[in-house]
Symmetry: C2
Subunit: 207 residues, 2 copies
């Protein structure tokens, strides 16, 4: 890495080198594409670099976790939880905010959500207390909730988690359903095409 | 795109959606990886999102184009042009700042540079007046410059540009050289195009 260090010191890229190193930490960008991205943005300062700096700053300053469902938004409760047009009889349980986004964007699900923040995992030492399950049990006890849709990933950990949640909800007066097969085994929701995800939602079954 | 618009409005991602759309314009990130990148950063606000916002802001505010060589840096003349340890007898002519970075980082070239800002291109309507050639002719007239290395890409436009520049420099008292064509170090002959292989054979040297 002698050459790399030499580069930074001699060329005095200073701020640019720091920028490149941070960009290289963004998923999807490696060191080489980070350089390309930095250069691309430096050539589009007003149309891309400055707006992106502002958007990052604003998101970092204003985004918070919804105290009801664990979604992230600029308001708490989040826009979904506070939405007047949402079907409040259904709660879709997802592992991660990325999965919530997939359900919203791809499927157009119109109920409410509950974000667990992960799955049970013996390997990673993640137990029930690490997931946001207590809040879900409370919400499911409410009169207006009729159905809890377990939309955890079709992985071993995702399905273990679904069974655990179904068990925790067995005394709640709700239908508990899961996404139908159609979700490929081992598949992550975030990577699914619209057809598969829509079909899986439509054909959901009691667990 | 009805679903997409619906998503933005209903979910009220506001700043997040704007952030995702800007990230999707960064080369290397598409719409899907932009969402993943946004989520990744939202989970690493202090370690990644805020530092990146600052680095982008600082680069946007402080980076300028070198009035001598067209490099970008936080100072003008750039650190290379102002460097006391650079070999001022050599000027390496590159198409783009990315090529300058490659020469610095990969090759460790220790002379000076001249960034053209593109190549001549009949197709894209880029003529000599669009490139930073006049400045190069002036620099090459200086006593201290002994050699101009034409390191434009080995494309048709790159080579056309190199020939054009060589012609413009024919009255300057400098050696004009170009990068040798040959087998890339570590390259397998089998994968090389005929032109490269022919050039490598023609330029063969005693071992
Ligand atoms: Zn919420
Ligand atoms: Zn310079």
């Amino acid at each position: 890495m002698e050459v790399g260090r030499e580069f930074t010191r001699e060329v005095g890229l200073g701020g640019i080198e720091a920028l490149i190193q941070l960009l290289a930490k963004v998923p999807g960008l490696g060191p080489r594409s980070a350089r390309r991205a930095a250069l691309h943005m430096l050539k589009r300062r007003e149309s891309l670099m400055e707006p992106l700096a502002r958007a990052l700053r604003e998101a970092a300053d204003n985004v918070k976790t919804c105290s009801v469902c664990n979604n992230i938004d600029t308001v708490d409760p989040c826009t979904i939880c506070a939405g007047t047009k949402r079907d409040r009889s259904q709660i879709c349980v997802v592992e991660d905010i990325g999965d919530l986004w997939a359900m919203e964007r791809v499927v157009g699900f119109r109920g409410l959500y509950h974000v667990l923040g992960g799955t049970l995992s013996a390997l990673d030492g993640i137990g029930p207390e690490d997931l946001n399950v207590g809040g879900l049990v409370e919400r499911a006890a409410s009169e207006e909730v009729k159905e809890v849709i377990l939309a955890t990933n079709a992985t071993v950990d995702g399905q273990t988690t679904a069974h655990y949640i179904a068990d925790r909800l067995k005394d709640a007066n709700v239908i508990i359903s899961g996404l139908a097969h159609g979700v490929p085994v081992g598949g992550e929701l975030d990577y699914l095409d619209e057809g598969t995800l829509s079909a899986a939602l439509k054909a959901r079954k009691p667990v």
